[in-house]
Amino acid sequence: MTTATLRSVHPGPGRFDPRALRREFPIFANNPGLVFLDSGASAQKPRAVIDRIADYYRTDYANVHRGVYRLSARSTQLFEEAREKVQHFLNAADPREIVFVRSTTEAINLVAQSWGPAFLKPGDEVLVSVLEHHSNIVPWQLLRDRIGIRLVVAPIDATGGLDLAGFEARLSPRTRLVAMTHLANATGAVVPVATIVQMAHKRGAKVLIDGSQAAPRLPVDVQALGCDFYALTGHKAYGPTGIGVLYGRYDLLSAMPPWQGGGEMILHVTFDKSEYQDPPHRFEAGTPDISGAIGLGAAIDFIEELGRDNFLEHEEALTGYGVDRLSRIGGLKLLGAGQRRLGILSFDMDGVHPHDIAQVLDQRHVAVRAGHHCAQPLMEWFGLSGTTRASLGVYNDERDIDELAAAIEAAREMFGR
């Protein structure tokens, strides 16, 4: 995006025109009338990201960290520059603390499979919360089955927010790791992760934060938070699919063994023994998703140019409008999100199944997600098999929420008893 275009959609601090910004997202021109409210599943891509990936393949492509030739050196430089963009995006102290992976899921599995067996003993505890996505539950169950750790679950309170007292009560002398979401994908509940980190560190536990939903919505400063690991995915942050990030404190990463073997991650290989690279390359076996990393770098540029505070202000205002608008629909109940809800409106409608609602919405070109949102324990806590979820992005505005509300009313009329 050129600075000139940007000025036209973002003329100053706190002023944000999502409708004009939509011109930067080709999907809307190609799907007239689309009301896209599923950014929590995956965000649409700005032209800047799409073009950057195509340009990279057209002009700079070669494998990284291999060739002596100039093209490979340039490709490597672009790849490592993308790492630095992520470093600044998270305010990490060092680019070597940024490991490129496929997704948030892979980032969490990396910690579970590398750090887990190296630092945990049978009976040690990993503490998660009821709010977690399956990707922050199942890797720990696999680790439990492998080495005999205990998986402990912190409760939520009646408002749907994390129960801090309940969390603190479950921190034990055996708690080695707290693995928790920053923003619950199924409800939009923002978790006070800075407090979680303080409480956990006081007891000597490390903290991994699942930032999949938070990274595109909230400014994240891993040094200020003091977390040990932070996981995020590119495609929810307006970047391409197939690229994700694990931030890990360098001293932790450098003490961790590799989790996948292959090229790129080694210093020297004989049939007797191999020596491994330092982080982050130790954890990046094989040819990485080079264009994905560069595309993610372009997405970060896009976010930073618009301003992360503006992103947050936009999502907060629209979330507030959505809560207000949807609350006025009879029989509709928004799932509680505690003290602070951001970017996600998940609801149950008395007597109408989420898939039926989503079907009527789709007829009106309103795209939402229906189902359990890969958070079945949380659905069970609410006593539901699933919900309908609208999630916001930078291109949404109040008109989208109005369309959503009108479509929900139509569904209610069709299925109401």
Partner: protein
């Protein structure tokens, strides 16, 4: 895109709101649980066989309008049918909702099968086909089971 009312015909909405045979059979000869992992929907199909004939069939569970109506219509048309007829009806129904070539049914059965016509609107909505077939898959699993109960998942 077709009119949504072709998917949600009145008969579907009616059976979705007021499912028939929505109950438990206390001592079924066969039963199976159907599970759609995509949406978390679950259905339990109870069967009471008298020899080769379906003396009673009922279901319980939680699902969307399509899956509830499909289960309801299924239990209605299967009362008193033989196991072989039930299987033939499922094979024909599955072919119709997936857009395959349905096999011809003998005349009295063909007429019964017509009652499932309102469900064939799912053809145009691939994501919803398994909503219409979940209870039938459970029925098939129940018939295959030894009476102790089976669980079947709809394939992706």
């Amino acid at each position: 895109m077709m009119d949504l009312r072709e998917l949600y015909q009145d008969i579907i909405l009616d059976h979705g709101r007021h499912p028939r045979n929505f109950r438990k059979i206390e001592h079924p000869t066969h039963l199976a649980h159907g599970h759609n992992p995509l949406c978390g929907d679950r259905v339990t199909v109870y069967l009471s066989l008298d020899g080769d004939r379906i003396a009673d069939v009922a279901f319980q569970g939680r699902g969307c309008a399509i899956s509830t109506a499909a289960a309801s219509l299924m239990t209605e048309i299967l009362q008193g049918k033989t196991v072989e007829e039930a299987r033939a009806l499922f094979a024909q129904f599955r072919a119709r909702v997936t857009g395959a070539e349905p096999a011809a049914l003998p005349e009295p059965l063909a007429e019964e099968a017509e009652r499932l016509e309102p469900l064939t609107g799912v053809k145009a909505y691939p994501a919803r086909v398994k909503c219409a077939t979940l209870s039938w898959h459970a029925l098939e699993a129940a018939l295959k089971s030894d009476g102790a109960g089976a669980t079947v998942k709809t394939e992706w």
